[in-house]
């Protein structure tokens, strides 16, 4: 099973470099990494997928990430119920003769044709990674020119924000207010 990590970081220059560097140093492979602003201003949430299978090594990855000063929380959702989605743009060979047929296929996958050329089509599709694999397989019969996959994004099911176990809630509450670095351990937020 692929390891899926949701990582909340401070939005500062060089953070991605620090994260990538950890993986490089231990020769762990990053399968995909997606970053974007989170619900908290000044923070970025990443979904990182690795091909690490072994549980102890997965934990090392998590602990090493947490050691970075700018990393606020790391949640390993590999074995948690969560929604994982991927986005892809697929450019295939297609002319007037096959366009209708392709359109019907794309509808079945709830994708969209977003660009039409005389000899090509660009298809946009979102879904579970296996669904993307499937449509790519189907479309390959027409001849694939180019694929751009955006990497996996994950979010846990349920009402909880897993990052609330870390220091984030403290940080949110403490904007402009004095909070000791370990106040969350003592439950004190002034």
């Amino acid at each position: 099973m692929k390891q899926v990590l949701i990582v909340l970081v401070e939005d500062k220059p060089g953070v991605l470099n620090r994260i990538a560097n950890l993986f490089r140093r231990r020769n762990f492979n990053i399968e995909s990494i997606v970053a974007g602003h989170s619900e908290v201003p000044g923070t970025t949430r990443l979904t990182i997928v690795t091909d690490e299978e072994e549980r102890l090594r997965r934990n090392i990855i998590r602990q090493d990430l947490l050691k970075l000063i700018n990393v606020i929380e790391v949640v390993d959702v590999t074995e948690q119920p969560c929604i994982i989605r991927e986005y892809a743009l697929i450019k295939i060979k297609s002319d007037g003769a096959t366009r209708g047929e392709v359109g019907a296929l794309v509808d079945m996958y709830r994708g969209r044709i977003v660009d039409v050329g005389t000899r090509s089509l660009v298809i946009e599709v979102t879904g579970e990674p296996s669904k993307l694999d499937s449509i790519i397989d189907v479309l390959s019969t027409y001849g694939i020119i180019e694929i751009m996959r955006a990497g996996k994004v994950a979010i846990t099911r349920g009402a909880e924000n897993p990052a609330d176990n870390g220091g984030l809630h403290l940080w949110k509450n403490s904007r402009g207010k004095a909070v000791t670095a370990n106040a969350h351990k003592e439950g004190k937020v002034s």
Binding site: G14, T43, Q63, I69, A178, V179, A181
Partner: protein, 576 residues
């Protein structure tokens, strides 16, 4: 604007920040990209001392040595480009040994960054994996807060080096200076404190029910100030302890339950005890390969408790039964009240047998016509007060110092453990001398390592650093030679090394130098060296082919030690 705020340049602000952080001394070297910093130093000379090194590596090691004896944050300063890259070995050394340090580098102007300007190096990029954290300050308004964070990060949690890279235009820019007194709030950085009640109960169960427990005493004891707590645990529960290399001095060498150092060149007694233990209590150490030997056979019968402030060390090298991520002293204060008093006579007797065996093979009994390194170091131990600070370099003499110098007190043994940086000792001792004023400082260094940073004799003399330098001169890169002898069929490729005449070299630098070739001359040379105020040097010409025993070959099990031949059947090749 607040009345207390003043408008300062970045360079002035830097010195103000250092003063706010209690910095007394900075080790550095000026250059094009930090000229504004040096230009403003004149106004702060009465409050901060600056030591001009001869190579920036020396600055980093000096800051490191100062940090290790004082527990305060050491500060090193360099210019951009080569100045900054010269710091790198020193930064890596501090990182591996968790030494609190702030390195300040000048950088080309922010507007020129990335354009391959003269003396530009991406030093934050280059040191990324070697620092606990690093900053490139692009804006003078952020400078003061950066310093506050950097010092806080360097000294808290698991300490380590932090680098601050400051472009020259930021040094010249002006801003209002206001050093906040607010607590630092880094959302992703919360060093742990206490152990959970559940962990304490489990630990107590394990300790109280163990028959053959051993404490592994690491560097974390020093940094957590847990010396007394560890000794209390040892004495209450009759648990013997064995220090790591950097743990030497955390428990007194003279303590009857101190087994001596563990690991590759540890005592046979400590290694046997670890292998036969039914419980290991690892305190602030990281199961380095030099202390575990072959992991598959490491302490096979024991349950293991690991207490460390760095969560990423837990279950990293050795799988443990109870991992406690917390401050060591705090944990021991939670555990100790619940410890059941026990004598453990069988275990203590077994250990005493191993201890006897080791002493019989000791080289000190050997009657040799030439000096032996171990004998020199033992004689230095006999001739120095027990609180003397010993700074060793890296190699055979380092292991001999660990074995033959009995370290009684914390912060009295300084050495590059994790990185094994040759050339560390001389600058580290100079750095230490700015904190240690009332104790003797002895550098113990090989002829190889001494020549790696010998240029730092310059600042030693210029600053009148009160250090005594003992060169253990065997004409070889001794530890590598030992490996060649044992594992490469005695092909001594590029390990014989020549030396200058160290007595003349000392004279050229302006310090007294002595040469000793006979055992009986050691004490008088020591007296001459220590009676001199300022640096002094002794060149001990020792046996070329001596080896450090016991030795666990790399990759072997901890109990598979190569032992020194019994003195009666000594086959050590003597003289050449």
């Amino acid at each position: 604007m607040n009345k207390s705020e003043r408008i300062l340049t970045g360079a002035e602000l830097l010195w103000e920040c250092l003063i706010q952080e209690g910095v007394e001394v900075v080790f550095g070297y000026p250059g094009g990209a930090n000229l504004p910093i040096y230009d403003t130093l004149t106004a702060y000379r009465d409050r901060v001392r600056h030591v001009l090194v001869r190579h920036e590596q020396g600055a980093a090691h000096m800051a490191d040595g100062y940090a290790r004896v004082s527990g305060k944050v050491g500060v090193a300063m360099a210019t951009s480009g080569p100045g900054a890259t010269n710091l790198v070995t020193g930064i890596a050394t501090a990182m591996m040994d968790s030494s609190p340090m702030v390195c300040i580098t000048g950088q080309v102007a922010a507007t020129a960054l990335g354009g391959d300007a003269f003396q530009e190096t991406d030093i934050t990029g280059a040191t990324l994996p070697l620092t606990k954290h690093s900053y490139l300050v692009m804006n003078v308004e952020e400078l003061a807060e950066t310093f506050r964070e950097a010092f806080y990060i360097a000294r808290t949690g698991r300490p380590g080096p932090v680098l601050i890279d400051i472009p020259k235009d930021v040094q010249n820019a002006r801003t209002a200076f206001n050093y906040s007194a607010e607590p630092i709030n880094l959302p992703g950085y919360h060093p742990p404190e206490k152990a959970s009640d559940e962990a304490v109960t489990t630990a107590l169960d394990m300790i109280n029910n163990a028959e053959q427990p051993v404490i592994l005493a690491g560097h974390g004891i020093l940094m957590s100030h847990a010396m007394e707590d560890v000794v209390e645990l040892m004495e209450q529960a009759s648990v013997p302890a064995t220090p790591t290399l950097l743990g030497l001095g955390t428990i007194p060498a003279s303590h009857p339950l101190n087994l001596g150092m563990m690991g590759m060149h540890g005592t046979a007694c400590a290694n046997h005890a670890i292998q036969e233990a039914d419980l290991l209590i690892a305190c602030g150490m990281r199961f380095d390969d030099r202390v575990t030997g072959k992991l598959a056979t490491y302490s096979p019968h024991s349950k293991k408790i690991h207490i460390d402030i760095d969560a990423s060390e837990l279950n990293k090298n050795v799988r443990v039964d109870l991992a406690i991520n917390a401050d060591l002293a705090t944990v021991l204060r939670q555990i100790n009240p619940g410890i059941r008093k026990r004598k453990r006579e069988a275990w203590v007797t077994k250990i005493a047998e191993w201890q006897k065996d080791a002493s019989q093979r000791d080289i000190l009994q050997m009657d040799s016509p030439v000096l032996m390194g171990g004998q020199v170091i033992r004689t230095i131990w006999e001739g120095t007060p027990e609180d003397a600070v010993i700074v060793s370099d890296v190699g055979q003499h380092q292991m001999l110092t660990a074995q033959y110098y009995a370290h009684e007190h914390p912060h009295t043994f300084i050495t590059s453990g994790g990185l094994g940086t040759m050339g560390f000792s001389l600058p580290a001792a100079i750095g230490a001398s700015f904190h240690v004023k009332d104790k003797e400082i002895w550098v113990i260094v090989g002829d190889g390592g001494f020549q790696m940073n010998v240029q730092e004799l310059g600042p030693a003399v210029q600053e009148g650093a009160n250090i005594n330098i003992a060169i253990i001169n065997n004409g070889y890169l001794g530890m590598v030679r030992q490996w060649q002898q044992l594992f490469y069929e005695a092909r001594y490729t590029e390990t014989p090394i020549s030396s200058p005449d160290y007595v003349k070299l000392a004279e050229a630098y302006g310090l007294p130098g002595y040469r000793v070739e006979r055992r009986e001359d050691i004490p008088s040379a020591m007296d001459s060296a220590r009676s001199h105020q300022g640096p002094a040097l002794i060149d001990f010409v020792v046996e070329k082919h001596d080896m450090v025993f016991p030795m666990v070959p790399a990759g072997a099990s901890l109990h598979e030690m190569i032992r020194r031949p019994h003195p009666k059947h000594a086959t050590i090749e003597v003289g050449k």
